[in-house]
Amino acid sequence: MSAGSDSTADRMHILNSIRRSLRRGELAGEHRQATQARLAHPPRGPAVARADLPPGQRVDLFCHWAEFNNATIARVGPAEVPAEVSAYLTRSNLPAQAAMAPSPLLDGYDWASQQMLSLRRGRAEASDQVAITGAFAGIAETGTLVMASGPDHPVTLNLLPETHIVVLRESDIVAGYEEVWLRLRERYGKDCMPRTVNTITGPSRTGDIEQTIELGAHGPRRMHILVVRE
């Protein structure tokens, strides 16, 4: 690595150049306090009216936009989750085996009821065809899933397999990004985001050949979301 003194000089070079151009020194006094206050209490942007709905309709809106973005949806009760996963794999001509996130939320479902279904808990490997994960939240405004990484949710499960099955509780569906940020701060503390927060809207896609959308560029080709009633 470069010597410490060089990198300190480079750092000061950039900061001083910014201050010189802005014709001021380091932020100080009231100006600094106001900027710190803005960081501590972030102001929200203009509200998006379409997601400002009572919970039931919010779930409908989530499903609408998720399907608009090429995900498929099954609305099920908690007892139906394992059977719907098996049925989806059968309908899609996929093997009855998957890598599953080692999360307490998923362990709460009765997977033993599906005798043909073989599950391996852990991260995804290159050979896995199907991943099953939960989701930290769903965003109704755009049909977006929010995945927070951690020991209970390896990031590779969101990306490597061609098919991603997501179990999302209705109570975790919120209006917009802003509610997700609040939940993240509540759960992890204001000073410690999870290593990776993936917000995912539908399957992977590319428009790089003739501006025409094709699904399954590098991430999953298929995304099936089980929206679970409570």
Partner: protein, 471 residues
């Protein structure tokens, strides 16, 4: 990369004569720009969000040093490292040293315009480190040894058939010997080839759409998932970002995200928006062991406080080029350097000099479509005019243009003489053109009449004369 911006006029001739390019560009009108219009119409708050997006970026720029230091503090507190690179040279050196520190042989690289700006790939290759572009469009042009022609759709200048030929040529040795004709087969083949490269890479290098000061996160917006594989699988993640990418908070990111995807591709949301904060944590089953952010200045700090500061608001959505009639006619390569279109016409003279790139801001009729669609309301025509003025001041404008302008200025300051001369010219042109109302050639107007007829003035005199009669 080596600039050919000084050959802009020759580049234009070649672009207009390229049938494949013209076929590809014809799709821009019905592709990105139509989808943007529909997305904007679906969201009643879109214009208010654009105003807010502009204000957020202005606020971040006015306090840039503060937010960069906050960002650094947060990254460091979570086990990441921030490196400050005043110049392109510094950034190349820092990244090369990081790669060498882990003995890297291959790098999974996710699309980054700043990497193009600093010529990173050539530098790494010269050191024996292979950067592999993993965005499909970037991968295609890397195989073809071409620069990107668009900031979000780097291979937009190519047809499907050209891509098929390129894959056949390069994938044959990997056992893919059939020439493909369908887009989805081409995508699937690239996916197979690149998957192994992700798994083998020693370093993942990505850009960033935003850096969030509040949390110390780098934020990446993509559709393919290649950036996410790049920042998850290899043991080291390097983020290369320029200093103006920093924004205060996650709430601010929410506003910018709402205008970014809609302005770029007309999507409600891109498929993947990812926040990365530091290296993997204890107990994590995947993710990189090291997380580094390289902050590049490369001339940006000197623009603050000047009338060019507005260009630093740019969030690189590409809407200005998707809607530009000049870009739509000549494509991105003609601009001769990294950034094409209206934003390129403004950035390039700053980054490589007005002597090299002075033609770019002249390639505009100031129709204003770029400004009208810019999500952060950058006054692009005004900024292009700024560069035309600098070009004129530095005596870089061609002699004939300077003399013409001097003659016009002489007349314009003498209203009576001006009216007499324009009246005479008008009558003369009307007289000789009156048979079919147009000219196929005119002295001093060869640049115009070579491609189209020049309309003869309508009877009734000059605008001045007719206006006076009306009143």
């Amino acid at each position: 990369m080596q600039s050919t911006a000084h050959d802009f006029k020759e580049n234009i001739g070649a672009a207009l004569a390229d049938p494949n390019l013209q076929d590809s560009l014809a799709k821009l009108k019905t592709g990105f720009s139509e989808r943007r219009r529909q997305a904007a119409e679906r969201l009643p708050e879109f214009e208010a969000l654009r105003d807010r997006a502009r204000d957020i970026k202005n606020h971040a720029l006015a306090n840039l040093d503060f937010y960069l230091e906050e960002f650094e503090r947060k990254v460091t507190s979570l086990g990441g490292h921030v490196h400050w690179a005043p110049t392109a040279d510094d950034a190349r050196r820092i990244i090369a040293e990081l790669c060498r520190s882990v003995g890297a042989r291959t790098i999974a690289k996710s699309k980054s315009m700043i990497a193009e700006e600093i010529g990173l790939n050539e530098h790494l290759e010269s050191l024996g480190i292979a950067p592999i572009e993993t965005d499909l469009g970037e991968y295609i042009i890397q195989l073809r040894h071409e620069p990107p022609s668009h900031i979000i759709a780097p291979a937009v200048h190519l047809t499907k058939d050209q891509v098929a030929d390129t894959f056949l040529e390069h994938h044959g040795k990997l056992g893919f010997t059939r020439r493909l004709t369908e887009r989805n087969d081409l995508v699937a083949e690239a996916r197979q080839v690149l998957r192994q490269k992700f798994l083998d890479a020693d370093v993942g290098l990505t850009g960033a759409n935003f850096l969030v000061a509040e949390t110390g996160s780098s934020m990446l917006v993509t559709n393919e998932g290649n950036a996410d594989l790049s920042n998850t699988l290899p043991p080291m993640h390097i983020v290369l970002a320029s200093i103006e990418k920093v924004i205060p908070t996650l709430e601010d990111a929410a506003v910018l995200l709402r205008v970014l995807a809609r302005s770029a591709t007309g999507q409600e949301s891109s498929a993947y928006t990812t926040l990365n904060t530091g290296p993997r944590r204890p107990g994590d089953l995947d993710g990189p062991d090291q997380y580094h952010v390289v902050l590049l200045d490369n001339g940006r700090s000197s623009v603050l406080g000047t009338e060019l500061q507005d260009m630093l608001r740019c969030i690189r959505c590409g809407a200005c080029m998707n809607h530009c009639p000049v870009y739509g006619a000549i494509g991105g390569h003609a601009y001769g350097w990294v950034y094409p279109g209206p934003i390129g016409a403004v950035l390039t003279p700053h980054l490589i000099g007005v002597a090299e790139a002075g033609d770019l801001p002249n390639a505009s009729t100031f129709c204003g479509r770029c400004e009208s669609v810019c999500p952060v309301r950058i006054p692009l025509p005004r900024l292009m005019r700024h560069w035309r003025e600098r070009e004129f001041e530095q005596h870089l404008t061609p002699k004939a243009v300077r003399q013409g302008l001097a003659l016009w200025a002489f007349l314009a300051r003498r209203p009576r003489l001006y009216r007499a001369v324009t009246g005479l010219a008008n009558r003369t042109l009307a007289l000789f053109g009156r048979i079919d109302g147009r000219y196929r050639s005119l002295p001093l107007a060869g640049g115009w009449t070579r491609y189209r007829d020049f309309p003869a003035p309508q009877p009734g005199g000059t605008f001045h004369a007719r206006w006076r009669r009306r009143r």
